[in-house]
């Protein structure tokens, strides 16, 4: 029985050697799955593969029981999958508000309500709505990035290292917001460097090494697994 959004047997890369070697990641609505692993393990690549941004040699991506492996990234976005990339995840030369509007590009209904919802989630964005996104601080940019992704009212949200380069206080804040989003019923996948903290809010966790699922399990299980602790959580 597949979860709401799931990938399996993903193998492939950028044309050269395979970066992903038979890996799979799943998440349910209203839950958070966390992907951790060393640098270069293929975490970002796995995210891109699930969004269809790279062509895989094999592997399936299922959304709500439907195989979406053949869809383009745009079509997957239209199907309700939102993605916040690791780098260059905002339109730096557009204002905050325009960033949000662009997130809703595919929508033809009134988006003002959604924008207000996002201002409620991230109040600072309301204050800075007419400022260029590129001029904001690191934490604020990540909020813009998440806000832009939420504009499609997605059922799945994939975040690639959303806390990279932000201060610990802002990081806690951001995790709180992510939990809030989860509580609205969105399925969330987070790739994280801060493995300990991320796994502590995870319903399910994956440790990716060399493009393979090295460990999988409930977040708390992984946190307590001595092997995982030793190798990835610093003892």
């Amino acid at each position: 029985m597949n979860k709401y959004f799931s990938s399996s047997n993903m193998t492939g890369g950028y044309g050269g050697v395979d970066i992903l070697n038979d890996c799979g990641i799943e998440v349910n609505q209203g839950e958070i799955s966390v992907v951790v692993g060393p640098n270069g393990a293929g975490k970002s690549t796995a995210m891109k593969a699930m969004l269809g941004m790279i062509t895989l040699k094999s592997g399936d991506v299922i959304l709500n029981g439907k195989d979406i492996s053949g869809l383009t990234p745009e079509d997957r976005v239209a199907q309700g999958i939102a993605f916040v990339p690791q780098t260059m995840n905002i339109f730096s030369e557009l204002t905050v508000k325009e960033n949000l509007e662009m997130g809703a590009f595919l929508r033809n209904d009134n988006i003002n309500k959604t924008i207000e919802d996002i201002y409620k989630l991230f109040p600072i964005l309301k204050d800075k709505k007419n400022q260029l996104a590129g001029e904001l601080s690191g934490g604020q940019r990540q909020q813009v990035a998440v806000g832009r992704a939420l504009m499609t009212k997605p059922s799945v949200l994939m975040l690639d290292e959303p806390t990279a380069g932000v201060s610990p206080i802002v990081m806690d804040e951001l995790f709180d917001r992510i939990i809030e989003i989860k509580n609205t019923g969105v399925a969330i996948i987070i790739v994280e460097q801060n493995a300990k903290q991320a796994l502590s809010i995870a319903d399910f966790g994956y440790v990716l090494v060399g493009g393979k699922n090295k460990f999988t399990g409930k977040g708390s299980e992984l946190l307590n697994n001595p092997e995982v602790r030793k190798a990835f959580l610093g003892g």
Partner: protein, 339 residues
């Protein structure tokens, strides 16, 4: 105080520097906007833009002739203004055709910008040949209607000044059409969903894709805008001066200089750059002798022409300004790159 004739000096300057520079600057601004938008969205320096302008102008001339034959004229206004929308449509369609048959292939391949630049040289050859084939390489004027808004003689008669001020109707038309064009363009880029999507695509292509912005649509709209801007700039220039295909190729240098000086990829920069280049070109090639004769006492009057550079070298001025800006501030006056 007989020698200190500031009013005549100012009229002299207005007549020979300010009015021509404003109108030439407006033409350059619209032309540079086309270059800067191709650069921002499609990410290459379009060497074919001068010849695209020449094609657009040729189309407008052909429509003008057609209308004149049909007995349709603009009255006091040049018939070319009626022809302009039709020429824009034809030129925009041509841009789309060229994109589909030429540039698209390299976009899909994600070719390097310099490859696009060389491809644009090929397009330049073809456009150049097409224009010469259809209308020939010679100078043509296609202006009709009322030529002057203010005539020097009338001006002198009514003001009693020694210096006359001439304002050609084409100069006023240039400024009005240019302002309307810029307002429309900036409204489109800043206020409409598609305009914002274009800026978003220009700023961060991958994220634009992730937001569901259709790149083909963006490219299509870009070429339509570029075709329109090129035609408008070309027709304004041709009405004001005359139409000669080779002149349009030569405009490439001041056009690029305007775009780069302003900050390539930045539309406001292109507009400002257009006026900077135009004013520099005209101010530095104007002979100020008479101007100083009005202002200085007799014994200080200059003997030479008081000209920085002969008009033969007006292209050198765009180049010098370009080099100075590149040395002092390589990103241009307004930081360039995206729209």
């Amino acid at each position: 105080m007989e020698n200190f004739d500031i009013l005549n000096a100012l009229i002299l300057l207005a007549n020979f520097v300010i009015v021509p520079a404003i109108s030439y600057g407006s033409q350059l601004a619209i032309a540079a906007l086309g270059i800067t938008i191709v650069y921002a969205v499609l990410r290459f320096s379009n060497f074919a833009h001068g010849d695209l302008m020449s094609f657009g102008t040729m189309t407008a001339i052909l429509f003008t002739w057609l209308f004149q034959n049909l007995g349709i004229t603009g009255g006091v206004l040049p018939t070319a203004l009626i022809a302009l929308p039709f020429a824009i449509i034809v030129t925009a369609l041509l841009c789309l055709l060229i994109d589909k048959s030429v540039y698209r292939f390299y976009r899909k391949q994600k070719s390097h910008a310099v490859v696009f630049m060389i491809v644009s040289v090929g397009v330049m050859f073809i456009l150049n040949a097409t224009v010469r084939f259809i209308i020939g390489p010679n100078d043509r004027t296609f202006f009709d209607g009322e030529k002057f808004l203010i005539r020097a003689l009338d001006f002198k008669a009514s003001t009693g000044l020694e210096e006359g001020l001439t304002i050609k109707s084409t100069q006023l038309i240039t400024v009005i059409v240019a302002i309307i064009t810029m307002l429309l363009l900036f409204y489109f880029l800043q206020k409409t969903k598609m305009g914002k999507a274009m800026r978003a695509y220009s700023n961060n292509e991958d994220l634009a894709l992730l937001s569901g912005i259709n790149p083909d649509r963006v490219v299509m709209i870009t070429w339509i805008i570029v075709g329109a801007l090129g035609t408008i700039a070309g027709v304004l220039y041709g009405l004001d001066k005359s139409f000669k295909p080779f002149t349009y190729f030569q405009l490439l240098l001041p056009m690029f200089a305007a775009a780069i000086v302003g900050g390539i990829g930045n539309p406001i920069g292109a507009v400002v750059g257009g006026y900077i280049i135009a004013f520099s070109e005209i101010m530095l090639t104007y002979a100020y002798k008479k101007f100083f004769i009005y202002l200085l006492p007799e014994h200080l009057e200059p003997s030479g022409l008081m000209q920085f550079l002969s008009t033969d070298y007006k292209f050198a001025i765009s180049f010098i300004i370009l080099v100075i800006v590149l040395i002092i501030r390589p990103t241009g006056v307004f930081r360039g790159k995206t729209i």
